[in-house]
Symmetry: C2
């Protein structure tokens, strides 16, 4: 029997947002590999080995998944959200570089955090937008600043992943400064924490009102473009630019 | 009994990528509103009224959905992909402006085309990226060109929706010219047509090899960033920038 690896997106939290395709892969799996809190979302059953691992070991985890598949195992690497957005799919392909053996690989999409957040907020990403990972673990901080300024000049709405960590709380404060400078104090900014879980909390403020502590590592932050507006309790970006 | 509107994302095509949340909303609905091919994806049943409408009447469709809900109907407005990405959610909030009656509204996320495409290609959106609608129905063409140049300068991977229509086939040719100029001839570009349907076709070429006719209105186009590379049959963008 030949092994395979599926890199699956579990969506933002609730089982209601897990696709049937991902559910089927989990049902067929012999092994689940992933970051501790994501593996904890998979129901244990007889014949299923769970391999939770810590954060920041993505490449080791990907190699381990490929090794298991080479032994004939059916491996699901679980990511939160979508595996292709700041998650495990890229790490798997990095781990594949230079290997002689390539098992069958499938990437199974999921509901990524910014789209789950956007749905709760209204439609802040209803026009052109960008997605930026604010962690500087894997890129220079100067590149983040450059991208923020260019995205503001392009008048993109922006979704920010990993806005704030304990290790570098000052980074997000700097991001807010740059955005206030580039987009003005009245621009709307939405903080969506743990969407679709019992801890869900969503709020929208202006950049003038925004504070770094409104975000933590479970928060996706969405900045509107220059036309983003409120209607009732909702925030949306119009489809058209006159 | 009070009415409601849910704006639901049906994903890219297959039922395997429709979330349980969307399936539940469809099961509770009395009325389905949407563009003809999307309404055709909902199974008819007794007590369910289908209201298909033509393209480019999004605002009328949204008003109709709100009117039905005001009459006490349980209305699902169906979008392909995710309703918040170049789809019906923004139109619904536009239609809500100035109305006295606001029914209960829910936005139900779905697998948007670029993430379904990305999964088939590998992980081309594995680093910072942007999403641009190339249709100039709702914005000036000059703004599209400006955004392309700034996105290239930011070294974003880029996902393009609505790359090419019968009404303006020359637009996408111009886009390819601008991208070749800004990103060079060797940059990888992926054409993903009708992902997850029987008509699925995915190919990756360099910008030098790219031709406008490789895209149609069922295609999502993904341009890699400067680090995007092939490994075996896959294309991915590394997570890190040195």
């Amino acid at each position: 029997m030949s092994g395979w690896v599926a890199v699956a997106g579990l969506g933002p939290g609730t089982d209601d947002l897990v696709t049937p395709e991902v559910r089927a892969a989990l049902a067929q799996a012999t092994d689940i590999v992933g970051y501790i809190p994501y593996v904890a979302r998979v129901a244990p059953r007889a014949g299923l080995a769970l391999h939770p691992s810590d954060n920041r070991v993505e490449l080791d985890r990907a190699r381990f998944a490929l090794d298991l598949a080479a032994e004939g195992k059916r491996v699901v690497v679980v990511s939160s959200g979508d595996p292709g957005v700041f998650a495990m799919a890229s790490a798997l392909f990095e781990a594949l570089e230079g290997r002689e053996d390539a098992p069958e690989i499938r990437i199974l999409p999921g509901i990524t955090a910014m789209l789950a957040a956007s749905a709760r907020i209204g439609a802040p990403l209803g026009h052109d937008f960008c997605a930026i990972n604010l962690s500087d673990n894997l890129k220079p901080w100067a590149l983040i600043e450059k991208r923020l300024r260019l995205a503001a000049e392009a008048d993109f709405a922006m979704a920010f992943y990993n806005p704030r960590s304990k290790a570098r709380p000052e980074g997000f404060a700097r991001v807010l400064e740059i955005l206030r400078e580039a987009c003005g104090p009245d621009r709307l900014i939405c903080f969506a924490r743990a969407v679709s879980t019992p801890d869900e909390a969503v709020r929208t403020v202006t950049l003038a009102e925004a504070r770094p502590e409104m975000a933590d590592m479970r928060t996706v932050v969405i900045l509107g473009n220059s036309a983003t507006r409120r209607v009732g309790p909702w925030v949306y970006t119009p489809r058209s630019v006159p």
